[in-house]
Every structure is written in structure tokens, then in C-alpha cells.
Subunit: 339 residues, 4 copies
């Protein structure tokens, strides 16, 4: 591979800490714990300052769930998310919060943040008038838009409004690009480390965190798109995984390329380098990271900015935004209807 190319720009970021914590026991500075709450898998990752992951110190809570277009799944997620947010936020009665929806309301998979903000119960204007009832906390909310539509760096908009109204904490909602098609719309991450540069669908954001703003920043993110390069490299990996799985688990595969509708994705397989190269040629000699970067370069001249989403994305995004906005409202204000 031509090393003169700037590979960093092709690197697919993920801010899902859970993606890095596969072999949790061997890592230093990493605490890891998983619970099941209302059938939702809740994973707490706590990173110390000098952790082996090289990621920012802080808490990362991940909720993994099934298809939210199912009423029962949605219900369970809402209850669990409310619990998790209550614990993460621990709002004092006189705290003033600002909720920020990152993303573009005109691009369906990137519209999660703006949609959530539209349903937040804001009260700051009532507080200013002395008309705030005791069941509600002081809350404001903004949709700063995206740089392509405003011409302004999004973090500048947030910072300047923050300096004007002086909130005590920030909640930021964002659509994320996923490194894996299996996580798409099926994972929520809540972290107290804020938004890191390069995360999110737009890929060029500046940091929004306690370090840059001086107040706690809770980020709520959902992976809603997969870059086209990811699906290609995932599929190439699957090809080998499936082939190896068949060879290792199946007795008499009619053909080495047979598929038998068995979900091989969750099975552990041992990789055999020679075998992988036979199947995939020189492509098979690349690491996962090298493969993805390589595919980026191949797709680059086509000039298309492609994304992969489920066909029913419009419906899923509305469900997710409804769950998240209700959970935020319930966990901050004293109006939880699921008691």
C-alpha cells in the first residue's frame, strides 16, 4: 500500500467505547460491568486517566436493545434509559441544563438530535419570569444546525450561547456513524466525556466537553448510519468468517462457499492465514483496518458520499427520538409516567 497517502482521513471512527473493550480483562485502567435491566443489556465502562485504550477518562454506559419499532422493546428501552439517565445526571433542584441536538434535520439518519430537542420540555423562560412550577427543573434547548447549512462551526454556536445563558450542565444528542452494521439503531451510548473531534456523521466536529466548556457535558449517541466502506469490509470479513465457520463446524459442506442460514456471526472462529489468502487473495492479507482504508481509496474516485441505512430508517429515527426525549424529560423533570 502506498504509504504516502494520508490514511488518517480514511479512518473510521467509533466513539462506542464498547467496541474497544472486547478483551476487558487484559486492559489496564478499564473497569467493565454488564447488567440486564428490563431485558436491555447495560454495560458500564469506566476508564482511568491512563487507560490502555488511549481514550478519554470517564464513564461510558451502553444500552444494547432490539428493534425499537416493536412496542414492547420501545417500552423497555424507555424505562431503562430513564433509569440510567437519572443516575448519570443526578440533577439538583436548582440546576440549569441546556439540551443540544447535533445534526441535520433535513437528512433523516442525521436528524436524531434535532428531533429529540423538538420534544424537550423547556422551562428556562418560565424560570426567568418566576413562573416555574416545582415539578419542573430549569431547562433550555437548542438546535445549532450543521456547518454546511449555517456556515458557522457548530461548537462556536454552542459555546457562545452557553456563555450568554450560563447553564450548569449540557446534554448533547448526536447521530453516530457506526463501525458495524449490527449496532445500527440498536445501541445507545451515554458518556460524561462529551463529544470528541471526528465523531458523529459529519466527521469534522470540534470537541464539546467539560474541558472546552467548563461544565459537565453528557453525550447521548446512537449509531444510525454505516459508511458504505464499512459494509464492504464487513461483508468481506463475513465471507471468510462464514467459510471458516463452515469448515470448522459443518461436517460435509457441499461446497466451500455454501451458506446454511446459520448465524455464524456470533461464533468464534480461528483464523488461518493461508486459507484466508486462498479465499480472498491479496485482499485476504490485509488487516481489518487496512482493508477499510483500502476500500475508502477505491470508492473515493467515484465521488459519491454514500451511506448505508435500513430501508425503514424514517420510522426508526422517529421512534428513537421519541424514546430519548421522553427519557430525558422524565429523568430531569418530576413527571415520570412509568413510576
Amino acid at each position: 500500500m502506498n504509504k504516502s497517502v494520508d490514511l488518517s482521513k480514511y479512518q473510521i471512527r467509533t466513539d462506542l467505547a464498547i467496541d474497544y473493550v472486547e478483551d476487558k480483562n487484559k486492559l489496564k485502567g478499564v473497569k467493565y460491568k454488564t447488567n440486564i435491566i428490563n431485558d436491555i443489556t447495560v454495560t458500564n465502562v469506566e476508564l482511568d486517566k491512563d487507560n490502555d485504550l488511549g481514550k478519554k477518562k470517564g464513564k461510558y454506559i451502553t444500552l444494547e436493545f432490539e428493534d425499537v419499532t416493536d412496542y414492547n422493546n420501545a417500552n423497555k428501552l424507555r424505562k431503562t434509559l430513564t433509569l440510567v439517565l437519572k443516575k448519570m445526571l443526578k440533577i439538583k433542584s436548582d440546576s440549569f441544563g441546556l439540551v443540544v441536538g447535533l445534526g441535520n434535520d433535513k437528512s433523516t439518519p442525521d436528524s436524531l438530535g434535532p428531533l429529540v430537542v423538538n420534544d424537550i420540555i423547556v422551562t428556562n423562560h418560565l424560570y426567568m419570569l418566576g413562573e416555574l412550577s416545582s415539578n419542573y427543573k430549569r431547562l433550555a434547548a437548542i438546535n445549532p444546525g450543521v456547518m454546511g447549512e449555517t456556515g458557522i462551526e457548530t461548537s462556536d454556536i454552542i459555546e457562545s450561547i452557553g456563555q450568554k445563558i450560563n447553564p450548569d450542565y449540557l446534554i448533547v444528542i448526536d447521530s453516530l456513524a457506526s463501525k458495524s452494521i449490527e449496532r445500527l439503531n440498536k445501541t445507545i451510548q451515554i458518556t460524561d466525556t462529551g463529544i470528541q473531534p471526528g465523531s458523529g456523521i459529519g466527521n469534522k466536529r470540534k470537541e464539546i466537553s467539560k474541558d472546552t466548556l467548563g461544565i459537565p457535558v453528557i453525550a447521548i449517541g446512537v449509531p444510525t448510519v454505516v459508511d458504505a466502506a464499512v459494509i464492504v469490509s464487513d461483508t468481506i470479513s463475513f465471507i471468510y468468517k462464514n467459510y471458516a465457520f463452515n469448515k470448522q463446524y459443518m461436517k460435509n459442506p457441499k461446497s466451500k462457499l455454501t451458506f446454511n442460514n446459520v448465524n455464524f456471526l456470533n461464533k468464534k472462529i480461528k483464523e488461518n492465514k493461508k486459507e484466508k489468502q486462498d479465499l480472498l487473495g491479496m485482499i485476504g492479507t490485509l488487516s481489518d483496518e487496512e482493508l477499510q482504508m483500502f476500500i475508502y481509496e477505491v470508492l473515493n474516485p467515484i465521488g459519491y458520499n454514500l451511506m448505508v441505512t435500513p430501508k425503514e430508517i424514517d420510522f426508526i429515527i422517529h421512534k428513537l427520538s421519541n424514546i430519548i426525549s421522553t427519557s430525558i424529560n422524565n429523568s430531569i423533570h418530576n413527571i415520570d409516567r412509568d413510576r
Copy 2:
């Protein structure tokens, strides 16, 4: 009428200077000139510091036009508005503008500002990267939302972003409440005096002007709703106007209350006090302003926040926003397609 009531809160505001300039010759500090450009009536009102109208010193240009859902009318308006804006803005090649859309994108008649901003060609982010082509000027655009949805005073959002990015001038687009159903969606006012307190549909805005922000503020406003009280008082006035018109112009009215589908609204009539009281009773003895305030009081206990719009308002607002955004883009950037 009970003078202990605070009548000021019932006063229907209009920021259309043209509404005040009926008897232009008698007014001091008021310059007034009307042209017809592409079949559009363009009225220039220039107010000196101590003008008889008691309004802010500055230029007020009003465009009066016919139904914009007609393709030809829309075309003429776009051309004329582009001309007027070019003259009003006189953008230097290195000027940096910020376009602000006031209003609520979820309420159709109040969505004009946000819709216009969505179609503004922003370039500030390209300028910051040194990638701005010479045909384009430096421009940013924001939709600050409304206080009921953000919890934040709108002028605070504009002011704080303004202080961060330091534009040279502001363009503010707003839906206005009209004092007259005849002006509804058929008038655009451009003024260099900015947004005055109490104008707009929301009715509670703070001033946004050169005085408060320190840079020129061009406000573009269109009356898109009429308060319910206005239509009642307008109709009561029409009743008399029509009656008097028939008496003065028609030879043999079959009945004093006859209507003959003649548009009496543009005719001059002489008012006869006795006659008006016969027709309308004590109501007929009130001045137009007293009548409107009186109706506000009558409608007040019903507790409804009613507005009057044309039935096809969704369609009209989209046409108007398209005309205004195209005119702004054409008059600032070097991309006018109507040369």
C-alpha cells in the same frame, strides 16, 4: 369605554410604515415616493429623526404585489425584490453577512423566516478555509428558534452568536401580524431600522437593530396572519363602507344592505356620522382603534389565541420563502439568473 382597562395591551401593532403614511403631505420629517417596477408597487418612505409618525428614523421600502401562487406575479416580485435588496444592501466584496430567520418552523404562518434561511447559500465555512470562489460573498445563516421551544430569549441567541463570529451586517426575516386582511401575503417591507419590540407574530420580541447590536440590521417582513380581532373590526368597517358606497354610487339600490359584487374597498367614500350610527348603533360611534380594542376585550374571555389565514397558507408561505431566499442569494452573491 372603561378607561381603567390597560388598553395598550390590546393595541394591534403594525410595523408596516406604509400603514401610517396615508396623508403623506401633511407629515413632517417624512419623505415618500412611489414607483412601479415590473408591475410591483414600490414605496420608499424615509423618516427623519423627529418625524410626525413617532417611528424610528430610517428607510422603509414596501413592495405591494398580487397573489404569488401565480407564476408571473412570482417572477416579477423576485426580480423587483432582487433590485431593491441590491440597492438596500450595497454589499462590499469583503463584507460578512449573517441571515437570521425569526419564527417557528412548526407553525405554518410563522415559518417564513426559518424557510428562507434553509435556502440561503452560506459560504462562511468555505471562507474560513480559504476556499471561497470570487463569485460569492461571505455569508452565514441561523434559525434561532422561538422562546417557547428553546426557553431562551431569541435576541440573546442572535447577540451571542453575533459576538462570536463578528458579522458586518445582519439580515432578519420575519412573519408579521397584519393590521389589514388586504395586505395579507401581498406586501413585503424592507427596512434598515431592524426589528422593533412587539412586532412579529410572537408579539414579545426585544429590539434587534443597529442600536442593540452595533451593526446594520436589514429587516425583511411579510404580514402572514391577521389577528382575529382585526377581521371583525375590518368587516364592521366594510359594512358601513359598502352601505355608504351603495348610497353614493348606485342609483337604485334594491335595498340599503344590498351587495353588488362591486369592489367598493378601493373607492373613496364620505363618512356620515348620523348614517353610520343608524346602521351600526353605538358601535358606529367608535373610532377604528377604539373598535379594535373593544373587540379584543370581547374576545378575551374566550381564552383562545386565534389567527386568521388564507386556506392555502401552506402553499403561499413556500412560494414567498422561495422568492425571498432567491432574491437574497441573487442580490448578495454574483449568481443572478435574471440579468
Copy 3:
């Protein structure tokens, strides 16, 4: 008044049977009963063939409720409406229903029908494949659009699809024009008489009923707009009602036109003809119907097709459509989550 004018075209229709049943005891062929269910006033009117109202034989159930943007009001209405629909529909397990949303999804106050249909759980295609689970009934749903957008008479679309798929019953949802601003978005009528000509916002519809289609037609209607003429005539009536109320109830009105923020609208007043004419002149001699027709004629030359709605209509319509679609789904399918 000039009797040569065709007054019928100015007549403001209401299909709310409740508007006609003020003096219930004196009417023949009219059964009338009111219950309070979950704080919702439910009025059952049953009309015999030869009823004094001159309206179609059948059941008319009216729900009167408070502002649905309040969570508790919405909850109560949903529960009560589900109960009422269950009783009205009495769906057999093998019945096949077609839900029809009348109205224009691009005009907010007329979009109720289309919005409800978007959230109906349709199952007919699963039934055709033999894949329908036993908790669900067979259901299809269409939005036929409005004649101005399709060029086709709406009843022709419904009739032709009906003939093709052969449903056992029809449910039709429609936005209505109200005769009264007090009912706006605060009344739902369910009737087994279908849709009558001239009702609805569009005003020119053909009958859609058992008589025309041969199957039961349940119509669900909500008044969402008031014609501009209504608010004028209502206000003129209020003016006198308030004046008379003040004279009769208040001891020392400072002025005959004083208002004291007392809600006079629900008080009974005795009308005094002489007094009314003093206050309102010749206008005061007209009956309510004559006044409305007169105002139509006055507003006619202005050429504007105006409607009156609450300023928050976009939000209210979404709430109402959510309540109605959930109630229909709950009352037909076996999925009621409020048991």
C-alpha cells in the same frame, strides 16, 4: 336584504347534531342523553326518521373535552373515545374494515384525516397471505386526497376502491368547519350516518354513507377551523350578550360598554330588541343566520378564502390525530394498552 342573491351558498353548515339540540325536550323524533365518562361529556343523540331537526336518521355521539395538548386531558379522551368506538363499531372477528382519511395533508387544519390514516395498523395484505395473527382484525386504509389535488371526485375514489376490495364497513375521518369558535378542536362527533354533502372544510363533497355505498359508514369528525364569517358574527353576538349581561347582572357598570373579565358566555340573558338596535343599529335587527349571510356577502368581494384557527393548530392536530388513530386501533384490534 337583496333576496335575489343565492343565500344558500353562504349558509354555514355544521354536522354537529349537538348544535341543533339545544331545546331537546320540545323536539319530536329526538332522543337525547348525556353522560360524563372520564371527565369527558358524552352526548348520545338518536334521531328517528321523521325528526324535527330535518336531519338524517341515525346515532350521533358527541365527546366534549378540554385542551388536548394537556397530557391528562389527552389520556382521558383516548380512553373514552376507545370505549365509545368499541360500542359503536361492535366488530365481528371476521369483519373487514376500510379506514378513509378525508382532507388535505398539505393544509394543517384539514390534515386530520390523512394523519389518522397514516397511523392505522393495516392488516388486509397479511390476511390475503394467510398470515394474520388472531389479535388483529382485517383492516385496510386509504387517503384519497382532495379534488383540487387529484382532479377526481373523492367519493368516486372511495367508491371504486370499495367495489374492488369489498369491505364490510367504512370508517371515515374528517376535519369539519365549526359554527362556533368555542367548539374548535374541543369536540369529536361519531355518527353512523356517514358524511353528508356540504360538510367538511372543502364544502362540496358528495354523500358517503350506507345509502350510497351499501355498507355501514361510521364518520368521525372534529371541527378544526371556523370560517372567518363565523368569528365576525360570533363577536357581534358577544358584543350584545356582554352588554346585556352587564346591564342585568352588574350593579354599577361604569360604562355601558365595560368589560369585566367575567365569562358572560355561559350566562343566560334575555334579549331586548330595542336595546340591541340601539347598540348595533340595523345590524342588531338581523337574526343570527341573516347576520352570517350578510357578513359572507361583505367579505366576498375581498376574494380571500380565509379561515380562523388557534395559533398552535399544528401541535393540536398532531395530538388529536394521535388520539383518534390509537383509539381506532385499540377498539378494532385486540391491542388496547389501557385495559
Copy 4:
């Protein structure tokens, strides 16, 4: 590959005749002609009854164009499409047309048909009243919805309305799934063969054609999504194409996997079987069709219904629908503004 799997269900359909006509000279029953009109490549394919492609007899006109979000490209496309439609439709002055928008207006890439129909100038209701001006032809338009939302087979809705109103011809607009990422939103096909089973995004439609309806059916289709499997197989093909290109055209490639930002996609390359297998392993021995089917099988167990679209799809679809609706209006009615 396991031949017991039903491969047909994995077959990616394309209704773009142009995809089949690469080696035009060798095919029987196929006439083929390409023109450039206003910089748009217009390809006419005419298929005889017994053509070598095994496709339906008829005309297929394909317009290939550049990014329509560019004003000039959009302008040229609109003019050329108007010309092509005029020729294809040859509307007699008394012909009655019905325009049908296939697809789901709630799923962005599938919303092209409904969006186009929303902007068609319908006149049939005016014709019925004898009020149609001579500049306009008789036209109606419907959005029949999708089966998942109506519970009714879409072709049944079209057929039943057709039988009721008796149009002389049908125009059907549809979003297509593309077999190639390069065609995405950059091709329009107009054909007089109607809609064939299995085409379109939904994939399960019945035929809508002269054979089934008895009147001419003109179908206008745009590929707006690519199935996720396509992008994987396209990329794998590109990998080899690029590798071979570099070897054949570049003198000193620093590495065999180097990319040099040269658009290799339009270059002819000679395929070398041995070389391809070295690069891609056993995967390299599969034909393009086998590769796509194979990838379908790999992606199948993941259970996701994924699609690939450009990130700016919302904006592109609105531009395309505007161009197509304007072209239809201009080519049918006598209102062409581009003369």
C-alpha cells in the same frame, strides 16, 4: 456454490434497458441510438417482440446526466426531459391522462413518485364543470400509497380508479433500485412498456401496463437506491479494475495496490484470470452475477434490510421531483416556459 439455494430471489433486478445493451451490435431485435441534447445523453432503445434481451417489446429512452443539485445541470435536464416526454406522449387535445406516483412518501429515496404527483397541474375536475381553459389538457393524478401502509395491492387501487374515471393513458413515476452506484440519481428511463413485476424499490409489484389496463402506460423511473449487496460487489470489481488499470497504464506503480486518484472506472481494461485470482482469491473466480448472489447470501443472516444512498438524498430527491413534475406539466399543458 450450493446450487440447491433458490438463487432467483437474490437476483438484483434492473429495469434500465440500457444496462442490457452494452454490445448492441451483436443483439437481434434491438435498435439502439444515442444523441446528445443540451449536454444530456439520450439513448433510444427499441426492442422487437423477439429480442435477444428477453425483455418486453417497446421503447426505452434513457437520459444520463450529471448532479442535479447544480442549477445548470438541472436546467438542461428539465429542457431535455420536456422534449423527450412531448415526443413520447404526443397528447391529443382531447386526451385524458392519469398520473400515478408509486412509492412511499415517508421513505425519502422511495418518495419520488408521490412528490412528483403533488406538483402535477390537475384539471379533470375543471373539465367536468366545463371550465377548462384551452391551454390545458384534461389531467388527473393520484398517490395510491404502498401496500404496507394501505393493506391494499397498489395495482388494485390504480385499476379500480382507472375503471371509474376512464383515462386515455397513464403516466407512472417510480423510484428504482439500481444495479450500479454510478447510475444513482443520474439516470431517468422513460418507457412505454409500463411497470414490470419485481421492479421498483418495494420489489413485489404486479405489472401495470397496456396489457393489464388496456390503455398506454408510460413509466418514468429513476434509480434512487442501491441495494447494499451491489455496493459490495461493485467495490470488489473496482478493486480488480483499479489494480489491472494501474498495471496496464502506470509505468512505475509504487505498489500494486496503489491508487492515484485517476478515475479508472471509464477505462477499458483487459481481464487476466490468473491475476484476478491472485488478487481476490476464490472470490475472483466468480462472475459478477455469482458474486452478487453470493454476497446476498452472506448478508442475509444479519436480517437487515439495508439500502445505500448518497448522504444528501433528501435534497436530490426534491430537485429530481421538481424537474420531472415541471417537465410533465410543460409537455402536456401548453405552458412551457422554456420555449
